[in-house]
């Protein structure tokens, strides 16, 4: 046998184990939202930082401004120097050279001043709008004008005077130097002003950068607390749940594997996807053999239709009561199995697969068959000698030379024989009804006719006990579809029970009526009733109520059982209501069916 070699993992249907929780989904959304918010905040901070950088970048011109302002200061000195030098020149060439230098420097200084004063986008010099700086510009302008005027004055004087007569220029020289000193003070103010502005810019930029960095750290911290920590918790929980589920699955798988019943998981059409060891042993097919094949391959033809029909029904989510089928067992031996099929739903609620459990009931079926064969055989064999006894006693009873006492004995013997015959008949009926082997002849039957004929037949007993017997019915009670003989037997049992357990002078009421798509046949007596404790077991085989045993020792406990078997055979129900000492009511309800033509 190859069973031992097939220890590999088998797929299990897990749909029923994994539980979907809508709460978890909501929490996930919550986390995702938080995460998105955090990322958005970081993005906003990054954009903000970049924007601030962009806005601050023009301040790179701070350095440019300082350079130009310094050059302006230097040009002021150069003008002064050139003017003074021209006054000291010893040659005309030298003098002209200084005067030209003076002119160049003046022009450059004016350009620089205008550049600073009015700005130039091309040279990245902004238009000045700071009032404090503008005030300084006013000073510079004034002093620059003065300086240039003095320089010009000196130069004009020098141009007209003879060479190398510096003493001639004492006054203009002194004025020029004074103007220069004032200009230099203003120019220095401007340089200082620019330097101060630049360092103020640097400081505010640093503060903003710091604020942004702190904000970023704050966001990251919040993200840690509100996003990552819960996420980690969630992941940990999910892992724990998964581990639990895995453990449960493993345990389930072990249970499934260890079961002696055959357990298979199949698709909706019966294709096998799991096959336990019980199934391997029962059908002599390994999981490797069966997985991918259809379950019907192990079903014998006589059960094929029933199995297909059940598969189709279970696949739609309907419940199917366990049913018996014939299958091919190990070594192709015939086995009887009881099959249970259940739908397995996915989390969405749709039927995803089927669970099929098979139990080997071969022994039980065999035992049942042997039992019923035995009962049938014994009963048939009993009938010949019973008929012999019955008939011989009948002949004896007719014998003219019988003493009174002997006549009584023979009468008792005949009653006993009849009882025995009755018992054998009941046993045979029960055995066949239980087996479902009784071939019934369904006919449309008016219960009124059957009832009237039974009443006529039992009228002798009713008269004998002076029982007031009433029968009521309606004219439009529909017929039922039953086997007339079996139904007659069932109703006959109920009527004779009522007569048997009702004392002399009592009354019995029989009612036959329509009842919402069914027919209701009820018999009420004024007999000994049935103890409450006995009522639940009343329709069991061989059961007899305690008080019945006292009154009627001859009963077999098969009568009501037989009635139940017959009534349920035709889709009907039987019920009993009683109070001990106050009579009993038995009600048979039979469905009104369409008559098959």
């Amino acid at each position: 046998m190859t069973i031992a070699s097939s220890h590999g993992p088998r797929m299990l249907t897990t749909a029923q184990v994994i539980v979907d929780s809508p709460r978890a989904t909501r929490a996930e959304w919550h986390l995702t939202t938080r995460y998105i918010v955090a990322l958005s905040m970081i993005a906003v901070l990054a954009i903000l930082g970049y924007g601030i950088e962009r806005i601050r970048r023009p301040r790179a011109s701070d350095a440019q401004l300082i350079v130009i302002a310094a050059r302006q200061r230097m040009l002021g000195q150069q003008i002064t120097k050139a003017a003074l030098a021209s006054a000291s020149a010893t040659t005309s060439v030298q003098r002209d050279h200084y005067l030209k230098e003076l002119e160049d420097s003046r022009s450059m200084l004016q350009d620089s001043h205008e550049l600073l004063r009015f700005g130039d986008a091309q040279q990245a010099v902004p238009v000045e709008d700071d009032p404090e700086t503008l005030k300084i510009f006013d000073g510079i302008e004034r002093h620059l004008e003065a300086l240039l005027a003095e320089a010009h004055m000196l130069a004009s004087t020098v141009r007209e005077a003879p060479l190398a007569t510096p003493h001639e220029f004492e006054d203009p020289r002194a004025r020029l130097l004074a103007a220069e000193t004032q200009f230099m003070a203003s120019a220095n103010d401007l340089v200082r002003r620019y330097a101060d502005t630049a360092s103020a810019h640097v400081r505010s930029s640093d503060r903003i950068q710091l604020a942004l960095t702190v904000a970023l750290l704050g966001v990251l911290l919040l993200q840690g607390v509100f996003v990552f920590a819960p996420a980690v918790r969630k992941v940990r929980d999910a892992i724990t749940t998964l581990e639990d589920t895995q453990a449960k699955l493993a345990s389930l798988a072990a249970i499934v594997e260890s079961s002696g019943d055959a357990i298979a998981g199949t698709s909706l059409t019966g294709d096998v996807h799991s096959w336990n060891r019980g199934a391997e042993a029962m059908f002599g097919r390994t999981a490797a053999d069966m997985i991918g094949k259809n379950i019907s391959t192990i079903i014998r033809p006589q059960s094929a239709d029933a199995v297909q029909e059940s598969l189709a029904r279970v696949a739609t989510g309907d419940a199917v009561t366990p049913f018996d089928a014939v299958a091919a067992g190990a070594n192709d031996r015939r086995i009887d199995i009881s099959l249970m099929m259940s739908p397995i739903s996915s989390t969405s609620g749709a039927v995803a697969s089927l669970a099929i459990i098979g139990r080997d009931i071969t022994d039980r079926v065999q035992a049942q068959k042997m039992k019923s064969d035995f009962v049938s055989f014994v009963s048939h064999q009993l009938r010949t000698p019973l008929a012999g006894i019955k008939w011989m006693l009948e002949l004896t009873a007719e014998s003219p030379d019988l003493s009174t006492a002997a006549g009584e004995y023979v009468a008792d013997a005949r009653a006993s024989a009849d009882r025995l015959i009755h018992l054998v008949n009941d046993l045979l009926d029960v055995s066949r009804l239980e087996e479902g082997r009784l071939t019934v002849a369904l006919q449309t039957v008016q219960l009124d006719e059957v009832t009237r004929s039974l009443i006529a037949e039992l009228d002798g007993l009713v008269q004998q006990k002076s029982i007031a017997f009433a029968y009521r019915t309606q004219s439009d009670v529909p017929p039922v579809v039953v086997d007339p003989q079996l139904m007659r037997q069932a109703l006959g049992n109920l009527i004779s029970n009522a007569i048997k357990y009702t004392p002399a002078g009592g009354h019995i009421t029989l009612v036959l009526e329509r009842d919402n798509g069914s027919v209701r046949w009820g018999i009420q007596d004024s007999g000994i009733g049935i103890p409450a404790a006995s009522q639940a077991r009343l329709f069991e085989k061989f059961f007899r109520a305690d008080n019945a045993l006292v009154i009627e020792t001859e009963g077999t406990g098969l009568g009501l059982y037989l009635v139940r078997l017959i009534v349920t055979q035709f889709g009907g129900r039987i019920s009993c209501e009683s109070e001990e000492g106050h009579g009993a009511t038995f009600v048979v309800t039979l469905p009104v069916l369409e008559v098959a033509a």
Partner: protein, 128 residues
């Protein structure tokens, strides 16, 4: 009124049943003969042409069903009414013999000899 001298043939292998039947039916006014198995019974039918036959089913030599078939196959004996006396109350058995042409199917133990006599008389009246 039926003919009191109607000839009844009993084919029954159990001697007690045979004897009880013979005795009672004679007392009830029938001319009774009997056979102890299927073969003897069929021969008696063909030879004596009784008015009515009581036929058991489970018998040695020739089962009742075969006797019934043979009687119904033979044009000379086909008209003789045959009553089956059986031990089986199975509806299938009853249907089978009725389909083969038996006039009645009775379960021995469920029947008194008086009832049997009355039934025979009834059937004979129906036939004539």
């Amino acid at each position: 009124m039926s003919n009191p001298q109607s000839r009844v043939l009993i084919i029954e292998d159990d001697r007690f049943l045979r004897r009880a039947c013979e005795t009672s039916l004679q007392k009830q006014g029938f001319a009774v003969t009997s056979a102890i198995d299927g073969e003897a019974g069929l021969a008696a039918i063909q030879r004596d042409r009784p008015d009515i036959v009581l036929l058991d089913l489970l018998m040695p030599k020739l089962p009742g069903l075969e006797v019934l078939r043979a009687v119904k196959r033979d044009a000379a004996t086909r008209a003789i009414p045959i009553v089956i006396l059986s031990n089986s109350s199975r509806i299938e058995d009853r249907k089978e013999v009725m389909a083969l042409g038996a006039v009645s199917y009775l379960v021995k133990s469920n029947l008194s000899l008086r009832e049997l006599g009355a039934r025979i008389r009834e059937l004979l009246e129906k036939v004539t």
